[in-house]
Symmetry: C2
Subunit: 150 residues, 2 copies
Amino acid sequence: VEDYEMALNPAAESEIRSIIEGWAHAVRTRDSKAIASHLAPHVVIFDLINPLQYKGPDDAHQRATEWLSSFKEDPHYEIRDLAIFATEAIAHCHSLNHVNGVTTSGQKIDMWWRATVCFHKHNGQWLVVHEHSSIPMDPSTGKASLDLKP
Amino acid sequence: VEDYEMALNPAAESEIRSIIEGWAHAVRTRDSKAIASHLAPHVVIFDLINPLQYKGPDDAHQRATEWLSSFKEDPHYEIRDLAIFATEAIAHCHSLNHVNGVTTSGQKIDMWWRATVCFHKHNGQWLVVHEHSSIPMDPSTGKASLDLKP
């Protein structure tokens, strides 16, 4: 091999794309179990909010449940600029994600964030070994920039 | 192949580790050119601060120069929990990074952030195709959590 272009695998890319589309559908239908699917037992997650990191699918499932139950109705959700780099056994992707909805307390949420996801194929199945989601900081205020648009 | 454990390549892992160590040395010596080395022409960067994303090594070099020139002296810098997943032609890694120093205006900086880096091998050289650095948000204040420790 020696060069990534020879290592890229279109079938693997298509499998990763299906997983990403499945997660998007899971956000739109507030299915927290499906959002936390495909996570490796040892997944390391850098999330939008504190702490610095956490590990494992159980915490991810609980956080997804809390997040989705904060919406009054199913939110709008879109993924933009999705780039997938998939070889036969290892893959990564990144995208800009956008959620738009109203919380149970009536607050309007309309925000973009950055997402990077790293996968391994294990026993014929793609598993997420690492997820990184974030909002950049505005250095003049120290606040997360919740109003950026791509 | 079919399974990532068979795809993992110790020589590749060692090459990636050298690049990471080189960057750490570059931060400690405020060598912004070396910090922006190994970036692919089309690298997509999700940085600690605004905007949502930017592209290309020139912007990365300029940002590194601005950041490093904000320190009065060479800062202390360490990388913790570095995990590398490297195959022959594609790799990714993640870590917690810590900088500790004093700015030219006398402000003490002592902060941890999360870093994820994705690589491709192209013409025998590892190139960064994607970098994601961030600080999580404290949802109760909307601020970036600059005081977290691992």
